[in-house]
């Protein structure tokens, strides 16, 4: 009987925890979108495990269509309990055309603007520094027509 109570308690805990987590990440999306101070278009929620030692860092990839003569804003916000610090990079084919982390200076930004001059399908990559585990939200916003 005690086992049954333990089992039911565990299920209850998992159910409530999932609900709270879902609420948490929704709040992060809302806060991240508000901080961007532009017209929200899309969000990208990532939850990555730590990378294996010596291996390539885990990353999430998302495709998106961007249009010419448009200024877009890309924001990245970590979830409150995220272990790793997130990085958002924008790629056009194999060329990086934007990033929240500038490797040359070691400087981090929570967002960057992208003055798009080429209509195409791009890719966003979100990863965590040093291959750590983490949870974060990337937000794409529309700033203005150029």
């Amino acid at each position: 009987m005690k086992k049954l109570i333990f089992l039911l308690s565990s299920i209850l805990f998992v159910a409530l925890y999932s609900h709270i987590q879902a609420q948490d990440i929704s709040q992060v999306v809302a806060q991240c979108a508000a901080a961007a101070d532009a017209v929200y278009l899309k969000d990208y929620v990532v939850n990555l495990d730590a990378s294996t030692p010596g291996g390539a860092p885990n990353q999430a990839r998302f495709a998106l269509m961007l249009s010419k003569n448009t200024k877009y804003r890309f924001s990245i916000c970590p979830a409150p309990n995220s272990e790793g610090e997130p990085i958002l990079q924008l790629y056009d084919m194999n060329v990086m055309v934007g990033s929240t982390f500038i490797e040359a200076t070691g400087k981090d930004f929570h967002m960057f603007d992208f003055n798009c001059q080429k209509s195409a399908i791009y890719h966003i990559f979100i990863s965590f520094k040093e291959g750590k585990a983490g949870e974060a939200v990337g937000v794409l916003s529309f700033v203005k027509r150029l």
Partner: protein
């Protein structure tokens, strides 16, 4: 005593499961037999990429507003017959249509008209069991108060994104595809109607560049074309796509240039796309888009 504890725990689990999933509508046995999953010609990953990459419902509206074009009700799809949309196919497709129209209304802060559209979206979303992601009460309150318009815009678009994501995560990409195709067709209709009445080179270029995404959407629809309704949809979309075949998109190469202005990081893209579209091509696309959109809306 132990029995009471078990009853309490069971009751709490029941309550928690109702709250956490928000999937109560999903437990309904809705007949999706009118939708077949089809034998996929493109992988699930590619399909996800394509669906995900379609522009947000508000982007075309943002361009139109940015050009200084006045708002007009005539670009909107009517919501009167929403209760007559009975199949999952119709519901998902019209969700996309109304999602795009809602984006247009929100972009112009036309809150008085918003209620009709959020009501229609809620009805359709419930019909395909994604209504739990559409916070009708809050959206209605925001629209009625005509305050917090940023919140109204955010919540509308975010709800739409969540519905799309949920469908893709739950192996219902066919419905997700229909939603984004609805968004695309209505966005294309808005752009072409505005181009007809207030021509602008930026609009012509934006219409021309739709070739990039339309060829991807056609790929998706082909996946499900064993189903009669998808086959009809493919036929209609192909009427537009045929007109794009001679439109050229060329690239002028260039390197991206990062700069920092007032603490803000900006990447300026120096590579440029150039769309070559003649007036004749544009006019044919305008005419055909109108025909196809009006036919699909009544399909």
């Amino acid at each position: 005593m132990i029995k009471k504890v078990i009853y309490v725990l069971l009751a709490m689990i029941l309550i928690a499961s109702c709250k956490s999933g928000g999937d109560k509508a999903d437990s309904l046995d809705l007949d999706d037999s009118d939708i077949v999953r089809g034998e996929l010609e493109v992988s699930g990953e590619v399909m996800q990429d394509i669906i995900q990459s379609v522009s947000s419902p508000v982007e075309m509206a943002a361009l139109v507003k940015g050009l200084g074009v006045e708002f007009s009700n005539k670009y909107l799809a009517p919501t009167d017959d929403v209760d007559e949309l009975t199949t999952s196919f119709q519901k998902a497709y019209h969700l996309g249509i109304y999602g795009a129209d809602l984006g247009y209304l929100n972009m112009y802060n036309k809150t008085a008209n918003v209620i009709d559209y959020i009501s229609a979206i809620k009805t359709l979303a419930d019909g395909i069991r994604v209504g739990q992601f559409f916070d009708f009460t809050t959206l209605k309150r925001l629209a009625q108060s005509s305050q917090n318009l940023d919140s109204l815009m955010y919540l509308s678009v975010h709800s739409f994104n969540q519905m799309d994501q949920y469908l893709r995560d739950n192996n219902r990409s066919n419905l997700s595809a229909l939603m984004v195709i609805g968004v695309w067709v209505e966005g294309q209709y808005l752009a072409t109607q505005v181009a007809k009445e207030a021509p602008h080179p930026d609009l012509a270029e934006r219409i021309g560049e739709q070739k990039i995404i339309l060829e991807k959407l056609i790929l998706i629809v082909k996946n499900f074309a064993k189903n009669k309704q998808f086959e009809n949809l493919l036929t209609e979309l192909n009427k537009i796509y045929e007109l794009y075949k001679d439109i050229e998109i060329t690239i002028i190469p260039g390197e991206p240039e990062p700069r920092e202005e007032n603490g803000m990081l900006i990447f300026v893209q120096n590579e440029e796309s150039v769309v070559k579209i003649t007036d004749e091509q544009l006019n044919t696309i305008i005419k055909t888009t109108e025909e196809v959109r009006n036919k699909l809306i009544n399909m």
